[in-house]
């Protein structure tokens, strides 16, 4: 019985560059199909199906670009199931730029298969409206806080109304953190002078959602930087960096937001741009590639990229400045994907934690595995996100730590929710929060 015949699509020089939605996927040719990535891919590890592995997805992307296959339901499903955690990039000996490939594929999916009206509206509200308009986001946060503290949430959760929402929206509702009061959401001052001898001037990305939901972490970041001799400036006209758009396949808006971000930060004339959210940091480090074809921005982007630093990466360049107070706790560290895989920052946060007196850091199994948060993945793929979260919380609880330290708000929300669901009292903290405690904050 002969198998299905396939075309010799790769024989002979390619007729055209390999592209999806106008984005180059030439990187697929770097994959030599060795398969070393397989065991490091969370979705492959859960499912065992190669369409849900990096190597398999690369072949799907290649075949799509070559026109060997069409964007069928099953192809969409497998590509959408990718977390974009980029764990495969860390282990890939061939240096396949996987993140770029999957983003191009997601852009193509959004282009060809925008989905239902509800889904499109949801995306428009998020990507088109809220993320690019900080004030609107702030307003939304204020209304959410009303929803949460007024007792209306209890009513809704009790009513079974949630069951009427599409799965993703229901998941979203469950994940929603408690909105901090307006005081915590208040913007940071534009300039904060360094304490002690000034080491450098840094500009802080306060982010879009971050500032609204995790304003306290931004404050802590600024405080720790100040204590370490850095002058902190907060460009007031900054908005969203565009990471969520890029990961979600909204390439056009990602470009606009990247340009706006560069505009906003160039004026700060800082020695570094410090970021405390992993997805943003990794994405901003990729601006040079993103804007390489934009004559007005290409060289500016290349310069900008050199100044972008994750907060752990930046602080770990020098020993922490004392005095440091003891923080008597046992913690474990979870590596956010876009810190450890996206930016290859693994030892820095651990080196920082090791300097805090009284703090005991225990190892976390699979610490560099995705927790399932992955940007908006926990909203779009709640089932897989749940499996990965379950795996993560199991490992966390096995450590016996009192808190999980990490470096990204998405992970914090996700892991905290997982622990809550298990009735655990283990807390989830941003690393700057722990550092800030050592400074009495």
């Amino acid at each position: 019985m002969p198998p299905h015949a396939t075309e010799h699509a790769t024989l002979g020089p390619p007729a055209r560059a390999l592209e999806l939605h106008g984005l180059s996927v030439e990187g697929v040719n770097q994959c030599v199909h060795c398969g070393l990535c397989l065991a490091y891919c969370p979705t492959f590890s859960e499912l065992g199906t190669e369409m849900d592995s990096p190597r398999g997805r690369i072949l799907l992307i290649k075949s799509l670009a070559e026109g060997r296959i069409a964007l069928t339901d099953s192809t969409v499903e497998h590509l959408s199931l990718c977390l974009d955690c980029r764990a495969c990039e860390t282990v890939c000996p061939a240096g396949v730029p996987y993140g770029r490939l999957i983003e191009a594929a997601k852009a193509e999916i959004e282009h060809q298969r925008p989905g239902s009206l509800v889904r499109r509206a949801f995306r428009w509200v998020n990507f088109g409206l809220l993320l690019s308009r900080p004030r609107l986001l702030s307003l939304m946060a204020a209304s959410l806080r009303v929803y949460q503290i007024s007792g209306f949430r209890r009513l809704v959760r009790g009513s079974g109304l949630l069951k009427l929402l599409p799965g993703a929206l229901a998941a979203w509702e469950a994940l929603l953190p408690d909105m901090p009061p307006a005081s915590a959401r208040a913007p940071l001052p534009p300039v904060m002078p360094a304490e002690g001898e000034r080491r450098a001037r840094v500009a802080l990305l306060t982010g879009c959602i971050q500032q609204v939901v995790f304003g306290a972490d931004n404050r802590a970041t600024a405080a720790v930087l100040v204590k370490n001799g850095y002058e902190v400036v907060v460009p007031q006209d900054q908005g969203c960096c565009g990471a969520l758009n890029a990961h979600g396949g909204d390439h056009a808006r990602a470009l606009t937001l990247a340009r706006q971000t560069i505009d906003a930060f160039e004026g700060a004339r800082a020695d570094a741009v410090v970021v405390n959210t992993s997805g943003c940091g990794a994405h901003m480090k990729g601006y040079a590639y993103l804007l390489k074809d934009d004559p007005a921005y290409a060289s500016r982007a290349a310069r900008f990229v050199k100044s972008v630093r994750d907060v752990s990466e930046y602080l770990a360049r020098e020993p922490l400045r004392g005095p440091l107070r003891p923080v008597p706790m046992t913690v474990t560290y979870h590596d956010p994907c876009h810190v450890v895989h996206g930016q290859k920052i693994r030892t820095e946060p651990r080196r920082l934690l090791a300097q805090i007196p009284g703090l005991r850091v225990v190892d976390l199994a699979e610490s560099d595995w995705c927790c399932g948060s992955a940007g908006i993945y926990n909203l779009t793929q709640p089932e897989m996100a749940g499996r990965l979260l379950e795996r993560k919380t199991r490992h966390v609880l096995a450590t016996g730590a009192e808190a999980v330290v990490t470096a990204n708000p998405g992970c914090i929300l996700q892991i905290a929710q997982g622990l809550r669901a298990r009735g655990s009292s283990v807390r989830v903290l941003h690393i700057v929060e722990v550092l800030n405690r050592a400074y009495g904050g």
Binding site: P13, Q30, H33, G35, P93
Partner: protein, 488 residues
Amino acid sequence: MTGERKQTLRRELEAIVGRGAVLSDPEELLVYESDGLTLFRALADFVVFPRSTEHVAAIVKLADREKLPFVARGAGTGLSGGCLPSEGGLVISLMRMNRILEIDYDNQLAVVEPGLVNLHLSWAVGPRGYYYAPDPSSQQACTIGGNIANNSGGPHTLKYGVTANHVLGLEVVLPDGEVAWLGGRTRDPNGYDLAGVFVGSEGTFGIATKIVVRILKKPQAVQTVLAVFDEVTHASDAVSAVIARGLVPAAMEMIDQLTIQAVEDAFGCGYPRDAAAALLIEVDGLAAGMASQLERIVAACRECGARDVRAAKDEAERQLLWKGRKSAFGSYGRVSPAYMVMDGVIPRTRLPYVLDRVNAIVRTHGLRVGNVFHAGDGNLHPNILYDPRIPGEEARVLAAGAEIMKVCAEVGGSISGEHGIGLEKADFMPFIFSEADLELMRRLKEAFNPGGLCNPGKIFPTKKSCVEVGPVAYRPHAIEEKGLAQRF
């Protein structure tokens, strides 16, 4: 296959393994079309994911009844096309059978399922001071079931042997769907050493569903030496010089300049980019005597003209050196869109001669080659780099490959040391085996797999014409001619 038959079979398979465990969409089957060797591809009709021995047995019985060819697949990291469904039918993926069933430290053995990733076993027993010795370079992804099929080796086989030396017993589903234990947990076989024969049979004797392996105590001490040479022949000489000093290192690996540059680009492992070749030599065992073994190795390397010889100063540096070595194949992706890895074995004393010949052959065909291999075992891995998009280049790669295999055969070697024959080398078997040799192997296959449905089209040559002398020109593999698989 008619749509109706396909529907019926799909329903039957789902009745065995459940929904969500049978693939038949063309896009899904596509990713199963090749293994780590992309030169060959073939599409299955179904990919099935059993979770137990009973599932595998039921699937195989169904295949037997329906006369459907079937082949087991692990992580698909193989390098000979051994797990391709070259005649269509079923791919039985064992990736959902990946549990460690038992670890018995007292008897230094573990019982595992075939889909377990090789390295994960060492991780599991590591905290108690044990490890699983066979360490193919793909150990971070490849499965123990796949290792069984190919009798996988790795850098440390020089001292510790290959997979067959570490397998005590196997529960297998035979090609007619019956289950039998070959070997067991004790050392001496009861009857013919069927476990020994099954290991390395490339999936043509049945499907292993439980595997009893030995686990070893981690050595007290390990030292890894990097010796840098300006001449490849000097490095080859050093391999024999170390052996001549009465040492059996745990591993002795050679890596040439092209490869060094690729892995340095990949991970920055600390190999000098300007070296013509480097040897990675590891000794392990007792702490006592370690220093004097190191001295002998250093002396042997220097005597052969090493420019620099140094021991890794700590575990981190040692791990980094090994990372470079083990990632070498994949890192060729940085210098070439495709490569074909060869797997010839030669008596190690013929290394200088054969390496020269290999380089000359590849040059003659206008191609580039990177060498990274188990020098201590004489197991060569010339990696011929090529671009599949350039017309005619693939044919030249295959021709050069055939010539290299012929050289290995001429010096008394073998055409495969650890990757297996699979589809790729089937037609080269007559280089080293006579028709009588092959006939006996066919009879052995007939004993296990009389219906021939279990992984058909592998190992045995499809033609008898490749014994002619001289370079073998590219010609389509027989299964290609039948339209059953394509090269790309």
